[in-house]
Amino acid sequence: MQLKNNIAISENGFIFDPNTGESYSLNPIGTEILNLLKEKKTDDEIINFLNEKYDSDKLTIEKSLNEFYSFLQEYNLSEND
């Protein structure tokens, strides 16, 4: 998953999409994932990172991540491959 380059992420969980003028809000883990995506981390790296930090198995994390990605796509926040 690749985030569009010009998306602005604030520290307290708000993002702004200059392409559309829309803003979004996220919970802290959502913000964390967006920042990891900005750093161009791969999905595996993100899953491993979250698995180290949070009390959950990889499968659950992967499922939640994919669901989250589908919303990023829905909102046109990701680059189309």
Binding site: G13, F14, I15, E22, S23, Y24, S25, L26, N27, P28, I29, G30, E32, I33, L50, E52, K53, Y54, D55, S56, T60, I61, K63, S64, L65, E67, F68, S70, F71, L72, E74, Y75
Partner: protein, 452 residues
Amino acid sequence: MAKLPFERPIIKKINIGVPNKIGMKTEYTPITEIDGVSVKQMIKEYGSPVYVISEKTIRETYKKAYSAFAVRYPKIQFAWSYKTNYLNAVCKTFHQEGSWAEVVSGFEYDKAIANKVKPQHIVFNGPDKSREDLIKAIKNQSLIHIDHFDELYTIISLTSELNETPKVAIRVNMDTGVYPQWSRFGFNYDNGEAWDALNRIMISKKLDLIGLHAHIGTYMMTAEAYKIAGQKLSDLAVKLKEKYNHTIKYIDFGGGFASKNTLIGAYLPGSDTCPSFDDYAEAITSSIINSKIKPDDFPTIMLETGRALIDDAGYILGTVLANKKLADGSNSTVIDVGVNLLFTSFWYEHQITPAQEFSPYTENTTIYGPLCMNIDVIRRSANLPIMKKGDNFVISRIGAYNMTQWMQFIALRPKILMIDLKGNVHIIRENEKLKDIVSMERTPEHLNNFDV
């Protein structure tokens, strides 16, 4: 280092102009226990979903309702509305508190008798009393509330056959300023039908007319309607006294007090908008006290309150099965409680509370039950704390009508637990098993052989 609890990542579009709820602290905290008993432990031991009834809440609610009336009026009698929840353990809790029984079918009547309620303390309502039901109720001197003229004449004809004087009241319907008006049941006050019925009863000299009854509707959001009902019923009592020198012993106001649930589409939560027991008691008692009925003739006020007495005592505990993004981009959550178990989701926005800690973030989601049916929606577009597969939740205020109007549909019905005053957990209804369902079926012999 200990790992942090995992919450599903969520993102929400901010709609300018519409207040945005994400980031706002949700106004409630998790429900981890009920009357001191752990929610997760009950699910572990008795399965998910599972119903839970708090004996303590039943008794406290009853006492609150009773005293609201008893401080204002000397003669008060509640009769537990069986249809609202006729689990024996629930009925008997109300009977221990002093409630009589109010039934609307032969089945409910027999259930009250089996629960050892004195037959003369059973109020028999409803339009569908069979001849056999009536004979039984007449012989037992139960309180028969007549619904229509056909029933009145059946009862009159039975009196000679049985050589008994049945104890009767009539059900009266009327305009109380609340619409739609329930005119299906009983005799109408405003067009004179009720007075006509009373005259026929008095003239027949075969029935002991002991009461007047009205059940003006359910979930009445204004106490004022009961005042109007009380004035009209008192008027009939006064006319009976004037014309026949006959004193009726009770006026039964039926049920209909709103519980604190929130109706679907309501702007404010039910807990903010519904009248209290004191409001209803004030309206009802003042209508009699201020009527032309002489103090020596004051009738007992009977009440058949259902939902307002039991809703708060009932819970259903369950588990999240899945989170799903729908084709239109909205969120949904699938839980193991469907409308088969929570019939009241058709009219209430039930409160769903996680049974574990949650963050202040909420998501907008539609809560679906597990049935393969489009109608199986528990909450539409609800702002709820973020829950994931395997999380548990508590749905509160579900004690009324769900354990009687439930359906055995697709799945077997779960256990019902009661937590007693000491915090002991009792199974008051077992979960259904395949054999319970098939034991009532009969298969024609020629259908028994096949090879698939």
